[in-house]
Amino acid sequence: MYPEGISEEQQKYLKRIKSQKRFILVMRILLVISFFALWETATRLKWMDPFIFSSPVRMVSTIARLIEEGSIFLHIWTTLWETVVGFLLGTLIGILIAIVLWVSMTISKIIEPYLVVANALPKIALGPVFIVWLGAGPASIITVAVSISLIVTVLEVYTGFQEADPEKIRLVKSFGASNKQVLTKVILPSSFPVMMSALKVNVGLSWVGVIVGEFLVSKAGLGYLIVYGGQVFQLDLVMTSVLILSVLAALMYFGVQLLGKRIGKKY
C-alpha cells in the first residue's frame, strides 16, 4: 500500500490524517441531513406550522411543480445573468479605478476621504435613485449590485497595489522600466492574491445587490419570487427560492475559486 522506505510512524501519521479527513466529511454530510430531517420531523409532528415554516418535502414538490411549469428557469436565468454581469462590472471597474489611483498619487489623495465615506454609506439607500434614473428594469438591478461591490474592490485592490515590494519596483526601474511596465511586470502579478480574494468577496456582494435590486423592482428573478411568495404567504415558494439561491451562490463561489487556482498556476 505504501512505497518502500516509509517508516511505521510515518504510515501511522498518514493514516491518522486520512481518517480525520474522512471523519470531517462524514460529519458534514450528517449535519446537513439531520438539519433537513429535523425540519421535516418538526413540521410533521406539528412542532412548527408547515404553512409558515414550509418543509423539505414541500420544497421538493414545489421545485417539481416549478420545473413542470417551466417558469423557474426564467427566474434562475434572470437572477444569474444579472449577478454575473454585476460581478464582472464591479470587479473590472473597481480594478481599473484602483489602477488610476495607483498611477496618480494626487488623484488618490484628493478622493481618499470620499472613498471612505462612499464605503461607509449603505449603497442600498441609492436603490430608488437608480430606479428613477435607469427605469424599473435589469439596468437598475445591476447598478445596485455594482454599487455594492465597487468601492470595496477599489479599496482592497488599491491597498494590495501599495503593498507591492518596493525593492522589486526599484529593480525593474533599474532596468529602465516605464510606469506601465512597473504596473504589468510587478504591481498586477504581485497583487494577484489580493485581487482573487476581492473577487471572492464580490461574488457574495453581487448576489446581495441583485436580490435587493429585485426586491425593489423586478418582473422576474429569484428575488422577485421571494418577495412575491412572501406577499401571497406562499412560504414554500420563498424557502425553495432561498435554497436554489444558496446552491447557485455556492457554485459561483467555487467557480471563481477554481478559476483563481487555474490562473494562479500559470503565474
Binding site: K168, L171, K173, S174, F175, A177, K185, V186, F192
Partner: protein, 256 residues
C-alpha cells in the same frame, strides 16, 4: 583611458517637510574599467544613495557623473544594479526571472535568450530553469539574480549590500562565487557594504565614507601577494588583518 565611472563633486540632499537631510557631500572618484571597488561606511551614511545616483534612479543635487566619458542622464543600460534582496519574482520560473531585464528593454532576441541560457548552463542552473525561486537555496537565488543582471549585458555592476540577506557561511561561499563570475565576465563592479571584511576581501580599491553627510574619508588600494585572488584566499593572507584594522580605525564606530 576613459574611466568607466567618473564622479565629480556629487552631493545629494533629501527634502522632507521637517527639513533638508544631506546624505552625501562632495564625493569624487574614478573607477577604471575592470576594477572592483568597495565602499564601506557606517549605516545611514548615504552609501546606498551613492549607488542609486550612479544607477540613474536619483538625480544628484550637485555634481556630475560620467559613464565612459558620457554624462549620465537617467537609467543607463550600461549599468546593472544588484539589490540587497534577490527580489526574484515568485510568479515566474527561474528562466523567466533571468529574462526580466531583456523583456523590459525589449531585447528578447533569440541571440540574447541563447546567451542567457548559456549563462544558466555555465553557472550550474540549467537544471533549475523551470523551478520557482522558493525552491532554490539563498546562494543559488543570488546567482540567479546576478544572471538576471548580466543578461542585459551591462559593463558596470552595482552591488548594494547584495549579500547581507544571506547567513554567514553561505555568504562567504557566495562572495567567492559572485566575485569569480564578475571577474570571468570582465565586468567593472562597485560594491557597497557595511561588512568591512567582505569589502576588503573583494575589492581592489576601497573608499571609506564618513557619517552623514557622507564624504570620502579614506581611499585605499588593496593588494594581496597571492596568485588568482579570490575573496576566501584574501581573507587568509597576513595582510588582511592590517587592512581591517586600518578601516576599522577610520570608521571610528562607537557603541553608545
Amino acid at each position: 583611458m576613459i574611466p568607466a565611472v567618473k564622479i565629480e563633486g556629487i552631493s545629494k540632499c533629501y527634502h522632507t517637510p521637517d527639513g533638508e537631510i544631506c546624505a552625501l557631500k562632495d564625493i569624487s572618484f574614478e573607477v577604471r574599467k575592470g576594477e572592483f571597488i568597495g565602499i564601506v561606511g557606517p549605516s545611514g551614511c548615504g552609501k546606498s544613495t551613492l549607488l542609486s545616483l550612479i544607477a540613474g534612479l536619483l538625480q544628484p543635487s550637485e555634481g556630475k557623473i560620467f559613464i565612459f566619458g558620457e554624462p549620465l542622464k537617467g537609467v543607463n543600460p550600461k549599468i546593472g544594479y544588484m539589490l540587497q534582496s534577490d527580489s526574484l519574482f515568485e510568479w515566474r520560473s527561474i528562466f523567466r526571472n533571468t529574462l526580466l531585464g531583456l523583456e523590459i528593454q525589449n531585447q528578447l532576441s533569440s541571440r540574447n535568450i541563447q546567451a542567457v541560457e548559456q549563462l544558466l548552463t555555465k553557472y550550474g542552473l540549467s537544471a533549475f530553469r523551470d523551478h520557482r525561486p522558493s525552491q532554490l537555496s539563498g546562494g543559488m537565488r543570488q546567482r540567479v539574480a546576478l544572471i538576471r543582471t548580466l543578461a542585459v549585458n551591462p559593463d558596470i555592476l552595482l552591488l548594494d549590500e547584495a549579500f547581507s540577506a544571506l547567513d554567514y557561511q553561505t555568504r562567504l561561499a557566495v562572495n567567492d562565487d559572485i566575485y569569480n563570475i564578475i571577474k570571468k565576465e570582465g565586468k567593472t563592479a562597485i560594491m557597497v557594504t557595511h561588512d568591512i571584511a567582505e569589502a576588503i576581501s573583494m575589492s581592489e580599491r576601497l573608499y571609506v565614507i564618513s557619517k552623514r553627510p557622507g564624504s570620502i574619508k579614506l581611499a585605499m588600494d588593496i593588494h594581496f601577494d597571492i596568485e588568482q585572488r579570490t575573496p576566501l584566499k584574501s581573507r587568509e593572507t597576513p595582510g588582511f588583518q592590517r587592512y581591517f584594522n586600518q578601516v576599522w580605525k577610520e570608521l571610528d564606530i562607537h557603541v553608545s
